[in-house]
Point group: D2
Chain length 376, copies 4
Amino acid sequence: LKNKINVGLIGHKFMGKAHSHAYRDINMFFKLPFQVVPHTLCGIGDDLEETAKQYGFLNTEENWEKVVSNPDIDVIDICTPDSFHRDIAIAAAKANKHIICEKPLTVNYQFAREMRDAAKAGGVNNLCNFTYRGVPALRLIKRLIDQGKIGKPYAVKMQYLQDFSISPQFPFVWRMDSALAGPGIFGDKGSHLIDMTRYLLGEFDSVCSMSQIFIDKRKDLATGEMRKISTPDCAMFLAKLKCGAMASFELSNMAAGRKNAFLIEINGEKGSILFDLERLNEIKYFTYDDPPEQRGFRVILATEPEHDFIVNWWPSGHVLGWEHTFIHQIYGFLRAISEQCENESNFEDGAQCQQVVDAIVLSNQRGQWVSVDEIR
Amino acid sequence: LKNKINVGLIGHKFMGKAHSHAYRDINMFFKLPFQVVPHTLCGIGDDLEETAKQYGFLNTEENWEKVVSNPDIDVIDICTPDSFHRDIAIAAAKANKHIICEKPLTVNYQFAREMRDAAKAGGVNNLCNFTYRGVPALRLIKRLIDQGKIGKPYAVKMQYLQDFSISPQFPFVWRMDSALAGPGIFGDKGSHLIDMTRYLLGEFDSVCSMSQIFIDKRKDLATGEMRKISTPDCAMFLAKLKCGAMASFELSNMAAGRKNAFLIEINGEKGSILFDLERLNEIKYFTYDDPPEQRGFRVILATEPEHDFIVNWWPSGHVLGWEHTFIHQIYGFLRAISEQCENESNFEDGAQCQQVVDAIVLSNQRGQWVSVDEIR
Amino acid sequence: LKNKINVGLIGHKFMGKAHSHAYRDINMFFKLPFQVVPHTLCGIGDDLEETAKQYGFLNTEENWEKVVSNPDIDVIDICTPDSFHRDIAIAAAKANKHIICEKPLTVNYQFAREMRDAAKAGGVNNLCNFTYRGVPALRLIKRLIDQGKIGKPYAVKMQYLQDFSISPQFPFVWRMDSALAGPGIFGDKGSHLIDMTRYLLGEFDSVCSMSQIFIDKRKDLATGEMRKISTPDCAMFLAKLKCGAMASFELSNMAAGRKNAFLIEINGEKGSILFDLERLNEIKYFTYDDPPEQRGFRVILATEPEHDFIVNWWPSGHVLGWEHTFIHQIYGFLRAISEQCENESNFEDGAQCQQVVDAIVLSNQRGQWVSVDEIR
Amino acid sequence: LKNKINVGLIGHKFMGKAHSHAYRDINMFFKLPFQVVPHTLCGIGDDLEETAKQYGFLNTEENWEKVVSNPDIDVIDICTPDSFHRDIAIAAAKANKHIICEKPLTVNYQFAREMRDAAKAGGVNNLCNFTYRGVPALRLIKRLIDQGKIGKPYAVKMQYLQDFSISPQFPFVWRMDSALAGPGIFGDKGSHLIDMTRYLLGEFDSVCSMSQIFIDKRKDLATGEMRKISTPDCAMFLAKLKCGAMASFELSNMAAGRKNAFLIEINGEKGSILFDLERLNEIKYFTYDDPPEQRGFRVILATEPEHDFIVNWWPSGHVLGWEHTFIHQIYGFLRAISEQCENESNFEDGAQCQQVVDAIVLSNQRGQWVSVDEIR
């Protein structure tokens, strides 16, 4: 085994920053048999050089194909807009690089299967970074469910609410153009909810969706022109899960006052669990195991040594931030490389998620229930 | 105008108790030009006499028709199971009695129209007691919406969650038999959510529903036999509102830890509002009117003199309970009688609500979107 | 035993209203072997007649001595300003009437002992109405402590915060004149905290206090003149309890945004408990009995059948209001009369509380620790 | 100006880790005219080499004097037990190194003045790292107070509650020995509260304290012997502030369920503010500027671009963790070096804080109020 892992990161904006930070900190907090090296930052723009220096990369490159083909590089990390994921990932797989790809894996199920199959053919480790799997509090929810603490799940409610584009003055961005963003909010926010549902409770059976565009034109700051919006501002959908639970979902970029509200409620036969990403160190948990007079939703601060990842960080009660989740996810990926085994949250998960996204988009078009199996 | 109003109350169980309490207290806290007299309590059971004494009624009667035809009685209050509402209300209207009817108004839209039309023909005041219209905090929400504080509504989320029947040992009750309970949870809990939506935001356009029975047999304590359950334990539905908002709803009798969680979230273009009946004196309100650095959901304790009904009760911060809502609703009804005008929350509201319930039931059967207009 | 209990209520303002409501409702919700009759309302003011009618009293009287000497009256209930409590109570005791007296029992420990001794000598039941002992959630706290759930208490924090007089425009009221109000906020709010501490944890050893008058003159609305304020707006004190716990207290009429915040935190060797009167149906409870990964403060909604008094009211989750506490306290008093035994929260409790109040007032003057035993 | 700043860090345990992380990340998120280099890690123990590698230091050293005298090193960062702070800081100042010293500055006011004077004489930048000044939410509180939003402060309540040593099985640690830890919890937790009070509201006038040791012997894991505890487990004190406000404080290592609860409440004439470090991205704020019917405590998530430091991190709603505060504090220090000006939170602040600590310790011994001026 090598004592260094060189990373080529493609995409130097928001997600590129979050991933870069993970590479910077991971060896300080987590034991790995190799040093993780931010080797090459790939992106387009005048700020690439300065960004690379700021993020601690040794090299820059504007052409992603050169990064993929660089023999010094061990891991390709894809943080581009969604529509570029497929080509890069398939090329990386062919070049036998391990691959990290930001969620959603891509823009449709067909592409997702191609990526999954390419990674499998290449024999490389692959991570579709559903980063909230790295939240210790959410992993505690997973643990409680797996231990049977809530019993058979009855009702699942998940929302991902932000308000960043609520002002009509908020400009046109690429995520509002379905040509670039594919299913838009269904892919962007929806994939988070779908993956978390799958992670906690298993597969989807069928879905029924509706959506709206509340502000249909916005100014493109690059051109000064008003551009038509082709992806929804907000969506809601119902789902039936294979475990027998009913589920309801909401996605919004225009929920006033909600800044990063990834909200979960799961009601089961033996208990209930709640979560809000704006208080990401906490869960609320109700169990009938408590004596009747003492029952209530307890607020568990998931920063104890008993909770996942916490011993690597700080003492009890010293809360973690949003960015730590990337370190946890990438740690799982790198550890799997070092142990030559599969990591969780891989392209198979990305593809399964994409199938559900496609079903929702189709339901949204049809105004009818759609079975996930219909998507092939 | 008379100086006494004699009330004949039909039904002496849970709702009968809540209404009786309202009659007992109303003259102490609210100015009316007449004394409200709990005149006759009508019900079936060995406990009727004792209950009447406990509740302060002067007389008892087992036959509701005699109550309706009693010339001394001014107001007929119907607190029976839903399937009896229609016959009693129509008879009362014909006898020119003012009528209070617990929600849901009845078991289907056709019956509801008959009741509405009978009340109109009888020229009597009529109240369909959607009691949560009497919560001061919810009236504050209404006021904020009417003042334009949240602007155009984008997304509405309403849930009514309890857990009373989550145990398989919980016995069979009449609400679980569709023959008696009609649309079951859709009428019982659903009508609360639908009416509150209508009260705050106006009419429904179309709906799409699903539901489940998680425990399909329960013991009938009267017979000791296991009986089949024919009304849902839990339901979810989407709706499109005529105001342009998307809406999502959930009803459950099996949501672990949720004791009386009538939850509301409304996101609009200028702000958002939240409510939870378990903390019924509070709302949460977010507005962009605040300076950017100071924005947040504020918890408003709606017990200030500026809030509806509060000056009739106690000083600021001395919180009200669930039962007060009945006093507020019945006060509105009686005041309207005294002023010879219409009260809000009347049979027209009850009928409109029932139309939506029927649409949801139909959607639930069909597994498809149903337009409310289709229900006639 | 008589089948009617006639109550003579002296004082027809805020507390008079709360007590009147209790008499009105008590027979509906609680089983007693007698009917409670609001017999005579005693007060001074043009509104007495109308108030008596509104509250349901049969008679009115301006002279309290006539009420006390009226042979038809069984219970004397004292809701006057504090400085009148002693004379009325002693006269009532001599007339062998059962006595309810609002807290604080009186204005100093000496008077309190006289009242206690007179009641004892008269052989009458006596209640010093520390009304928060009637909050089901607070009784749950008592139960948990008595069951040893928090173990040895280490730290106690109690606050009673309101903001009613924070505006300089808020007028002079009798509570701001030490001649009428005695120890002012120490008696008014302080007695609530002291009694609750005694109720939950036992006796005080010593205290150390400070206080402030932030607004030293206010307009007397009766005369239009500015009057000097002689009782504190806000006070803080430390205490050592005989159980070994340290305690800290705060009283304020000028805590911005705090409407009726009677806040409690108790940390013990095995757990902690929190309470806020603005959410009076809830407590928060932390216990090390939970598995490490599941520990957290649980919010217990104390409206279950297992909680005190709840079965007399409504189903689970149908929250109670502030006024219910009076019914619970007066029920305990009346039941004790019917069972010819002592009730809790009696004049002995009132006197013990007064002794601590006096110690605090003395400490406040001296700027030093004062032992409660020093007060005789 | 140099393009590199070499840091010599003395102490490689908890605080050493937190500071090391700050050096690692600071250049990625904050613009400085130089690269910050973790140059030498100084500590005692077999794990020094490995820790240095993990933290990214280039060198190790067991003798702090060699670090201080190393001409390559620009900044000395002191993370040792409190009793070593003075000697190291004075030596560093004499060697003309810029100095960071963890709080509390030292173990008594006399030593603190010597350190302050030495730093002044050496002409070096100096930071006493009261790290919570780096919490964006707390800086928002500071801003609101400075803008006059709460007006004249009336009442201040600060608590620092943890439960780490509540179990009698928790072993003896150096902080429990007054010979090493000086004033113990008064220095450790107390200094945090005192500095925050000074930061937000200014100077202390006088204090009155009490404290307790609840568990008086614990096992020394090194020797297996039971050792006597000489520092308090818990303390409470009152204070009068020069601004006129009353203040109350609590410090505890044995508050069940409180993991890292640095709690603040400030009530002023125009508003109130609350804070809890366990939810460190939030404050609660009440203002009378809101219309009466809309008033309430708003929960402000201090992760907007308008809040301090946030633009350097992530988009709105992507919450920060505890460790970020060190980066913010050290950034302020390093920027001041680069701009050749004074930084805030310096040794003068550390000394002022120490004076109050000494007054509290003296009050605690005497059982009396002590004026801060008495400490010289």
